[in-house]
Amino acid sequence: MKQLYFNRIIFGIIGLLILFVLYLQYAIIENTEKIKKDEIQKSENYAQKIAEYLQAKTDNHMEASLTKSPKLRTQLNELLQALLTEKYQYIFVLKKDTKGHYRFLLDGSKEDAVEYKTLFFPQSSLFDKVYAERKMGIAKQQEGTQKIWLSLLYPIVEANQTEALLVVDLSEEYADYLNNFNSPLKMLVGLMQVFLVVSMVLLGLMAYRYYKFRQSVLNDVLTGAHTKLYLEEFFNRNRLDDYNAILIDMDEFKEINEKYSYDAGDVIIKEFTQAILAELSLESKLIRTGGTEFFIVVPKKEISIGVLAQKLFKRLQEKKYLIDNDVIFLTISMSAMIIPSGTSSLQNIQRILDEKLLEVKSRGKNDFIVLDLQMIDNLRYRDINYIKEALEEKRVSCLYQPIVHTQTKQIVKYEALVRLVDKEDSNKLITPDHFLKIIKGTTQYIKMSKLVLKEVFSSLHAFKDIKLSINLDLDDLYNNDMMKLIAKHLYKNREVADRLTFEILEYNEIVDYDKVMLIFQQLKAYGSKVAIDDFGSGYANYSYLIHLDIDIIKIDGNLISQLHTSAQRTKIVLESIRNLAEKFGCKLVAEFVSDEMLYTQIKALGIEYAQGYYLGEPKPIEAYEKFIKV
């Protein structure tokens, strides 16, 4: 967009310069013409004065006086001679004879002066006209004349009769002088014109090169589909929420490349692109966002997204590719959605579709998903700006899920679970799966942690008998800012810190146990406990028990729910974990205890503590504390 505005400004300036130069040229021409006009006007006055003088000197009987007095002729010829300047080429007086031929009465020329009454052919019909009409006239230079720019013809009238004709010839040289009067300016304008023409040519050349460059940047060379940059530019000009979006990825394409070569793979990608384009309107846009990943935007008014997704999926699923006499079918995974009104972040849309595509792939590929309205409604919670605003406005709250003693069902602790409060509906709480991934690793995450710690410690101060636990990723503890924040809060609230447990989640394998041990020591400095969360899943394995000083083990909820399907085998595993916990002196908590059957089994297995919806949903702390008091 910036480039577009820049181009417009440049072309605008050039356009203004052209207008300025044209105006300048027009002004110069106008000025020159005005100067000429003024000079002609002056010459007219000059001619009038001469005529009046001649009339006075000849007592209004010019021919008679001049014929009678050669001396007077000489005097007046000399006078006319004296009046000749570089501006005037000739000044002379003519009179028609009885045959209608013009003859000289006076001649102001120095070198080629003619005798009295010599014949003269004027080469212009205007002479006769002026003579007859007795009105001054201007004869412009014409064929058969030399050195004359124009002739002022002034009739000398006596008693309503033309007695003679005064001719004042303005020299061509003087016209050239007037024409060249503005020549420096003309030259400047000429140079400007040359400069502008060259600039326009260069600009045109640059524009052409820029256009070619843009074409290569905005369109994928292999498939002809658009590139990501095109998509960004497209939505700079168009509203995002006027469109629906689809993300498609070809499944297992790596195998095609490996089996048939990359060239064959390219051929398939080309055909695949053509197959998609065949299903899309001209207003729809196809963007190649990755090797085999394509993003499509379709105008909302055209077709329902569900219908199009179904149609496209079927078409691409049925598409056959012929490579080396082999007919190949490809499967695709696809996610589609209506872009909600007011959405402005293309990245958000892409991320959501990407997440949904991953979901499809993780479910076994060769399928598609169209996001329903509820899913889309929740999309706004994924907007970083929405989350930022919520944190700015401190719309963060904690719900507390009780952890109970299995035998007595008495609440021994609560797990604090963070929620964002919806902007429009303060009763609506947004779960972390909507926003946590978005802010992870950002300053917003620290800001949120700060708010959570503040609330948790506040609850610990408010309810003297309760114990709380909060969740932390081990990655968070590697972060210096986060550790400083926790250490600061622990110190500040050291008198209640022993009632706090940190539930540590781990998504990556621990490489440096010494470092983790050091972190755990910091957490426990004021008597806080450390629990290992989701034990029995992923990286939360037995190594933790060997290397780290763990206070509590929280058994992975998935493992607990296995009691529904593989009760005997799961019991063996759970018994083994219980024994381990006993040996290591750790307390044991079963998570996800969602029904009575699970609770009974857990109780029977001798697992000391349990947590789950059956035993208590996440609620504000006041709800449980009130209940206990009753």
Partner: protein, 124 residues
């Protein structure tokens, strides 16, 4: 220009022209309708451009006043001072002047075309 004047005087191409002025000769040398002669006698028309040429014309025409060649001047003065020249073409006050004298044309039985009528005068 001279080609049309000579044609107006009834001379048909190629017109044999005698002129002793080098400048004029160099101009006429390339004219397709005019052939330059080296002698007065062999010419159809003589262009009087100098006093010397005028003197020669006076002398030669004395022998054959009404016959060929016709005399044509390039100056008003030559036209005025030599009765035998039928006309002249010259520049005055930056304007071209062409004129023929009727009596002198008649003497050679020349009738100029109508469009040249305005240039034919009775006397200077």
């Amino acid at each position: 220009m001279y080609g049309t004047i000579f044609a107006a005087l009834g001379l048909k191409a190629p017109v044999h022209l005698y002129v002793d002025d080098k400048e004029y000769r160099s101009v006429f040398r390339h004219s397709p309708d005019i052939e330059l002669t080296n002698t007065f006698e062999k010419s159809d028309i003589v262009l009087v451009t100098t006093e010397e040429a005028l003197e020669l014309a006076r002398r030669k025409k004395g022998e054959n006043p009404e016959g060929k060649p016709i005399l044509f001047a390039t100056d008003y003065h030559f036209l005025k001072s030599c009765e035998k020249t039928v006309g002249a073409f010259y520049w005055r006050k930056g304007r071209s002047q062409l004129l023929f004298l009727k009596k002198r044309l008649d003497r050679h039985h020349i009738a100029v075309p109508e469009k040249y009528g305005k240039f034919v005068i009775d006397e200077l």
